[in-house]
């Protein structure tokens, strides 16, 4: 019997391995991915990076401009998250098992959340750009819709996790719906909700960079300009500044999370 387990385990891993190989070969064929160039480009990129992709003295002169663009990106990430949190909270309260008025609302809230979440962020940006043209507002709106979808799901999970025992105990004392919500559900779930807000802001900084390429705003646009004008030193400075900002923001969020969870 002992050997059987080993043989089965080996067969399982062989099967998984074989499946992945087949998947890889089919994907390479479909996408016309050039394996050889993939490998050589790794070394070429390293060589190019070390020889040209680093900030030099002259590019430091662009630092104030880059910092201003970074500031725009941070502001948009925070404001889109906070603004999206309002309708997201409303939908989450409507749909959560602990606070809903009727079971049908759960499906409605889930559906709305799923639509906004799965609609690609770039599609939002492209559609909004048709009417709002290239501006920070367009970037803000695209991130707003994307965040809305994600936050609905996250908040709903946070509300669902609230212990139903305390809610029932409160109800038994004759507390009204709003009493239950503000005395029990809100205090219990607010650490989770704030934690998700912070997570969303972190994600939005990266996504705002992406959206900035399309809407011509923020740090993404700064990189785009320098990159397209072959000013690689300044472009690399953008990367350095972004890395520092993202890591600092992560550190702050982790600090806050530790204090509240």
């Amino acid at each position: 019997m002992q050997t059987d387990i080993y043989i089965r385990r080996r067969n399982n891993s062989l099967m998984l391995f074989g499946l992945l190989i087949v998947l890889m070969i089919v994907s390479i064929a479909v996408t016309q991915y050039d394996v050889g160039r993939g490998f050589t480009s790794l070394f070429k990129a390293l060589e190019w990076g070390l020889s040209t992709f680093y900030p030099d003295g002259k590019s430091l002169g662009k630092l104030p401009d880059i910092m201003a663009k970074l500031w725009d990106t941070i502001l948009i990430s925070i404001s889109s998250t906070v603004t999206a949190a309002v309708p997201a909270l409303f939908l989450a309260f409507m749909g959560s098992r602990t606070t809903r008025a009727h079971a049908a609302f759960t499906a409605v809230a889930r559906g709305i959340g799923s639509f906004f979440r799965n609609m690609p962020l770039v599609a939002w940006a492209m559609i909004l750009m048709l009417a709002f043209s290239q501006s920070s507002l367009t970037g803000f709106l695209a991130l707003f819709f994307g965040s809305l979808g994600f936050l609905v799901r996250a908040f709903m999970e946070a509300l669902d996790e609230v212990d139903t025992g305390t809610i029932e105990a409160l109800r038994a004392t004759g507390a009204s719906y709003f009493h239950v919500v503000f005395r029990s559900v809100v205090p219990c779930s607010s650490p989770q909700i704030v934690s998700w807000l912070l997570f969303m802001i972190e994600t939005n900084i990266r996504d705002a960079t992406l959206v900035g390429f399309l809407t011509g705003t923020g740090i993404g646009f700064a990189f785009d300009i320098y990159y397209k004008s072959f000013n690689y030193h300044a472009a690399s400075l953008v990367v350095v500044v972004t890395v520092i900002a993202v890591i600092a923001l992560e550190a702050i969020s982790n600090h806050i999370r530790k204090a509240i969870l």
Partner: protein, 265 residues
């Protein structure tokens, strides 16, 4: 007493965080560049555009079969990205797990991976595009970098959740590092590894679409960009959006099951 104080502190931090975020938001609205568009008119126009996109999708330049092929290409790129980054992240994850590698190594791996993750995926793709030319190769290699950063962290944490005694028992029998990895670590964390990899595949799919649109890399994202910004063809934008949306929702339904799996184990 102590518990109460920490609860009060938590409450205060939550309030402070909320107020700070709110202040940032108000400031952002006051200083935002609203562009030249008349907002009132733009909102109406956007609603009309949405109507065309979702209720009158059609294929004009791109046939339905073409759109499907482009979707397959996009999925293929996401699969390649996930596979390449998964293999590399597996090794880095072993080196980054506290119970499997010396502290100096895990710290180094974790620091490198944190920096890799902090660079947005689009910047990675464009950096590699200089060496490989813009296209599927740059997209896969560039997205793999960000994916490696994510998966290494996820894998390392999965390995760290492994019971210390299992490793010690094997060490006592004189097993070497590779034997421990292949006989204890990998078999007992397979469920976690597969779940995390699938979740990353979902993200990689979204990223490939985004790279196509923002960097002109490859796949259906590029068609999305062309239909919208080049041809102003809303119907075709609708067709493409439906394709991407449908696949993304399928992936999410699977991902929810996968996550439940992660929680139960």
């Amino acid at each position: 007493m102590k518990e109460r104080r920490s609860r009060d502190r938590s409450k205060m931090v939550i309030r402070l965080t909320a107020i700070t975020l709110l202040a940032f938001t108000v400031y952002a609205f006051m200083t935002m560049d609203y562009g030249s568009a008349d907002i009132h008119q733009a909102i109406g126009e956007t609603f009309r555009n949405f109507g065309t996109i979702f209720f009158h999708p059609h294929s004009h330049r791109l046939s339905v079969a073409d759109a499907f092929m482009e979707l397959l290409t996009t999925i293929g790129l996401a699969i390649l990205t996930t596979l390449f980054s998964g293999v590399i992240a597996l090794f880095l994850g072993l080196l980054g797990a506290r119970n499997l590698a010396p502290k100096s190594v895990t710290n180094l791996v974790k620091a490198i991976v944190a920096v890799i993750r902090a660079i947005p995926a689009i910047l990675w793709v464009l950096i590699f595009a200089v060496a490989a030319g813009l296209g599927s190769t740059a997209a896969v290699i560039g997205l793999s970098m960000h994916s490696i950063g994510y998966l290494t962290k996820a894998y390392a944490e999965s390995f760290e959740s492994l019971d210390r005694s299992a490793i010690e028992a094997l060490e006592a029998t004189g097993a070497d590092w590779w034997q421990i990895v292949f006989q204890a670590v990998l078999p007992s964390t397979t469920t976690y590894l597969i779940s995390w990899t699938f979740l990353r595949f979902e993200m990689n799919f979204t990223n490939v679409v985004a790279m196509g649109a923002a960097a002109g890399a490859a796949g259906i994202g590029f068609d999305l960009f062309m239909a919208s910004s080049f041809y102003f063809d809303l119907g075709e934008l609708g067709l493409i959006t439906y394709f991407v949306l449908a696949f993304a929702i399928i992936l999410e339904i699977i991902a929810i099951r996968v996550k439940r799996n992660l929680k139960e184990n």
